[in-house]
């Protein structure tokens, strides 16, 4: 079962532009995480945002969380070719402290 759902499923933008992808979830969470996966590789953790936080930054990444709408967004500013990857949100739901649940991901392609 998958709790989070990313939108869009796929996104192509020009290098230098900003990329925004969204994650919606169904059940109350303790935290939400974003991961990146390059083709044929494992996942790399990007940012963890807790349910009592609204926004976090890490370099060119900005994550927001709106618990009233049960949604999060990941913004990548000034995109680079190396940002081409799949991006997944993962949620840690309340009362389930033994796992995180991944969405299906957004496939981001940065055009040169």
């Amino acid at each position: 079962s998958q709790q989070g759902e990313e939108d869009p499923q796929a996104l192509s933008i020009q290098e230098g532009e900003n990329a925004t992808m969204n994650c919606s979830y169904k059940t109350s969470i303790n935290n939400l995480q974003w991961y990146r996966q390059n083709s044929g590789r494992g996942l790399v953790h990007l940012i963890l945002i807790r349910s009592n936080e609204r926004e976090k930054h890490s370099g060119r990444l900005r994550v927001t969380l709106d618990t009233s709408k049960k949604s999060s967004s990941l913004l990548i500013t000034a995109s680079r070719a190396a940002d081409t990857a799949s991006y997944f949100c993962a949620t840690a739901t309340v009362n389930r402290d033994d796992k995180i649940i991944f969405g299906k991901g957004t496939r981001l392609h940065i055009l040169p």
């Binding site: 998958q2 303790n30 494992g42 996942l43 953790h45 963890l48 033994d98 995180i100 991944f102």
Partner: protein, 114 residues
């Protein structure tokens, strides 16, 4: 090594064969997870270990799947009598804290069952 390693990276098996996939977590990480990732999908949880104890195996798709972590470090995921639907990438991850904290992933093992 500094990261999570998995072996083999690629495995081709004939239907009905048994396979064993190995995961070496980051040294000292208490939590270890196995995921199955189908093409174009997100990772699906299989099982979770805290040290040597398997605390959650609710994601294992059938009794043909078995995981162990006998000494609380290296883990092995075994699939008996492989079927074509078992073809996927199997990811291992480890964490120094609880399961809901940051997880560090290995490169995965791509299993193809013919």
């Amino acid at each position: 090594g500094a990261g999570v390693s998995q072996s083999p990276r690629y495995k081709v098996a004939k239907r009905g064969q048994d396979v064993a996939l190995r995961c070496d977590p980051i040294s000292g990480h208490v939590s270890l997870f196995w995921y199955q990732q189908a093409l174009g999908q997100g990772p699906e949880f299989l099982t979770y270990f805290q040290n040597e104890a398997q605390l959650d195996k609710s994601g294992l798709p059938s009794d043909r799947f078995f995981a162990e972590r006998p000494e609380g470090s290296v883990s092995t995921l075994k699939i008996q009598r492989t079927q074509q639907e078992d073809s996927a990438v199997y990811l291992c991850a480890s964490s120094s804290g609880p399961p809901t904290d940051t997880q560090y992933f290995g490169p995965g093992t791509r299993l193809t069952v013919l």
